[in-house]
Amino acid sequence: MQLLNKHPESLLDVKMHYCPGCGHGIIHRLVAEVMDELGIRERTVGVAPVGCAVFADTYFNCDMIQGPHGRGPAEASGIKRAKPETIVFSYQGDGDLASIGMGEIVHTAIRSENITVIFVNNAIYGMTGGQMAPTTLIGQKATTCVDGRTAKQAGYPIKMSEMLATIDGATYIERTTVHTNVGVIKTKAAIKKAFQNQIDGKGFSLVEILSMCPTNWGTRLDNPSEATKFVAEGMLPVFPLGVYKDACAADKK
């Protein structure tokens, strides 16, 4: 009998703190598997955000930095420019990347910084207890919009992949999901491409991954179909999956 799915070396064999059914654990594993398959673990430096994934610095088996909320892309730029031989990834949630970090992610894409960004979009603030996120859906309830988000009060959920794709410096932008097995497989392929681009020096790559947050969505932790249904029926129509940008640095003037 052969074990088909070995524990990736790029992820430490420790229990992760994420809630039952949270997408972070899946995505951590995928990033680690890709790091293993590309053989980059020993030269990778990861940037952990502020948010539920703040503890990513203890989970990945490579050098990690944890810094201020939203500033991951700036930190990653500093690491990459100071040590171009490293592979650098910034792992961020929707508050970190699309709220306070909006300036940093846009400018890191503008500069076509040769880094990989893993953007976990679960349309809510997790770590701080369920406040509205920039990607919270219209009508979705959160602790700072208890009757549901309205466009009048808080505008519309931001489509980061679409927006970043308009930036000339962005090389590769794809949106995937981890609420289904097939989604997980496609997410891994996208993450692999995003890291391969960096290895090949092709510029800024970002994968936006739709993810579950049963705790703050108020869906049952022992019945994952409620959360996966929210992704399928609520999030997918607003955040369609697909490749939004795929260009090579060599083609850029």
Binding site: V50, V54, Q66, P68, H69, G70, G95, S99, I100, M102, Y125, M127, T128, G129, Q131, M132, P134, T143, T144, C145, V146, D147, A154
Partner: protein, 362 residues
């Protein structure tokens, strides 16, 4: 008798601000103050006010800078790392003479630190934190009722002297639940007179500018010196502190906020053992009760500063006492809680002359 309501500290702060006339709030989630923006998000619309969850603490302070310029009573809140982000905006508000109200529910720092209550932002709050020559009116509550009632005083001082004002609380006070009595009179915002500097519809009057710059030579010096006159008036008129069992005290504990609660327990414990100790609790941290400390230091031989930091307020205490008495420090940074037992033990050592001074009497 006024009605008492069981409330969480953060919510009492928000409700207290609203009762004091706050009609605009902008803020961002950060533990341990999330209940402030959450409460504001549904309560402000109820009283005809407006709430905004800003994209960051930087955006929030600048949004409040804008709202305050229209003369509206507004507020932003955060916790330590978020307060660091706000420093530029606070400096601008001070330089533009805007009465903004800020709530800081301190947590362990520096950096990300932890999410538990601490007192590590004293310097940041009282020394500016932001750049340039300015002051902020800072009040330190030590119970949920004070969290509920201090906003009224903060708005009063802020608008009277055109200065940013702050309630400096910590994660323990913010999260604890106590019976609250709203004693500060509720403000009817319809009776508030729009300040003569407020921006808005300029029909029928000369234009107004809200700004903090003056590039002419000597311009900023003039602006700051005019402010200093107001700061001196605040130091004359607005100092607040509380004293317990000072009269015959051989050691006076000096503590604010949650540490003062620990010291009250230590006071009781020590007095039961026959030790002559007392407590001075600064309520305004700026203006600091310097004059009172100067007076006390003529008679009291020992001061013990107790704070959940590496020792920040102790500098102000030592400065005021200026070598007339011994100053001792019992400090724990990083949100580690100080116990009454520990404080009593330190006071024991002081009386036995076994404790090391922070600053010895000359």
């Amino acid at each position: 008798m006024a009605e008492k309501k069981l409330m969480k500290g953060n919510e009492a702060l928000a409700e207290g601000a609203i009762r004091a006339g706050c009609r605009f709030f902008a803020g961002y989630p950060i533990t341990p103050q999330n209940e402030v923006p959450e409460y504001m998000s549904w309560r402000l619309p109820q009283v005809g006010g407006a709430f905004l969850q800003s994209e960051s603490e930087v955006a929030a302070i600048n949004t409040v800078y804008g709202a305050a310029a229209t003369g509206v009573r507004c507020m932003t809140s955060s916790s330590s790392p978020g307060m660091s982000l706000k420093q530029e905006g606070i400096s601008y508000a001070a330089g533009a003479d805007l009465p903004i109200f800020i709530g800081n529910v301190m947590r362990g720092g520096p950096g990300l630190g932890n999410i538990a209550g601490a007192q590590g932002d004293y310097w940041q709050a009282t020394r500016g934190g932001g750049h340039g020559d300015y002051r902020t009116f800072v009040m330190a509550p030590n119970c949920v009722t004070e969290l509920a009632n201090f906003p009224a005083k903060c708005y009063e001082v802020a608008f009277k002297y055109r200065i940013p004002s702050m309630v400096l609380a910590d994660g323990i006070l913010g999260q604890m639940m106590e019976p609250v009595e709203f004693t500060a009179p509720e403000v009817d915002v319809k009776t508030l007179v729009e300040p003569e500097w407020a921006l808005g519809v300029n029909k029928g009057r000369a234009k107004r500018i809200v700004k903090s710059y003056d590039l002419k030579e000597g311009g900023v010096e003039i602006m700051v010196n005019e402010r200093v006159k107001r700061y001196n008036a605040i130091e004359q008129n607005e100092v607040l502190f509380e004293e317990k069992m000072i009269e015959d005290a051989e050691i006076v504990m000096v503590a604010y906020g949650i540490s003062s609660r620990v010291c009250m327990a230590a006071l009781k414990q020590a007095r039961e053992k026959g030790l002559k100790v007392g407590l001075l609790r600064p309520i305004t941290l700026w203006p600091f009760p310097k004059a009172r400390l100067v007076e006390l230091s003529k008679r009291v031989k020992n001061f013990l500063v107790v704070e959940m930091s590496l020792g920040q307020m102790v500098e102000d205490v030592a400065l005021a006492i200026n070598g007339r008495s011994n100053v001792y420090l019992h400090a724990k940074p990083g949100a580690s809680v100080i116990t009454a037992d520990e404080v009593c033990k330190t006071m024991d050592q002081i009386l036995k002359k076994e404790a090391k001074e922070y600053a010895a009497a000359k």
